[in-house]
Subunit: 160 residues, 2 copies
Amino acid sequence: MSDSREIDPELDLVLERVVDVRPELLWKAWTDPEHLKRWFTPKPWETVECEIDLRPGGVFSTTMRSPEGEVLPANPGCYLEVVENRKLVFTDALGPGFRPKASPFMTAVVLFEPDGTGTRYTAIAMHADEEGRQKHEEMGFLTGWGKALDQLVEFAKSLG
Amino acid sequence: MSDSREIDPELDLVLERVVDVRPELLWKAWTDPEHLKRWFTPKPWETVECEIDLRPGGVFSTTMRSPEGEVLPANPGCYLEVVENRKLVFTDALGPGFRPKASPFMTAVVLFEPDGTGTRYTAIAMHADEEGRQKHEEMGFLTGWGKALDQLVEFAKSLG
């Protein structure tokens, strides 16, 4: 499971942090749609729908709503790798059943590594080219995924 | 392993045939780069290079050469699902390590189902949209994959 960590700084964005909650609880919060809706989208935006079929080729889809009520259309992707409590890989370049999609944007790798009583949490967003990486950076990857991680940690603790 | 067979006739192309060679030999011919070079490209074209890292996220790449010596640049994709002797799924929408690519074209599912002493062989090419399917049809999917299958069967028998 190591080589998805081969990071290309021109193409990838990375958020890494040690958090004080066990991998098992973060995993639960990532893999149950009702849980995920509670933390996935930085407030005041919300995740109003979530579909999870937790296996390679299974759907991963979220629908987000702005505080003004604007709903972003879902863009269903699929899981690529599922290693319970340790690693989750998904992409929007393929839909359910691995069908290619016309406008790929990213593959995400999320690693949950035990670290003392907590977790070394690493989220990697991989893009096809520098333009994709830049666009994601300008969309606020670090701030957005960082805020979502704060929300994730708080929520996951409530599951413990 | 059944649901990759959910075929959408608007988006997918399918070649299905019962052939008189065992799944294990077809599998060998598909998964060893030296074997694959022998049959993969309809003659008089040739496959002159082949890279195979047979695991989800591992590279699958071929380089083809025309009878006039023109070499098509390789377009490395990756495997998505590997079920020994039964099923192979790969795509050019993601490169090695599942990195998205700018111009996805297809995901291929190849099924090797025992049928008497032979194999029911099914190759499915899935596209993002009708345009992709049409383009592939016009490129000669059925003829090309059919000829390659003739070559595959002949070569696989020599492995028996």
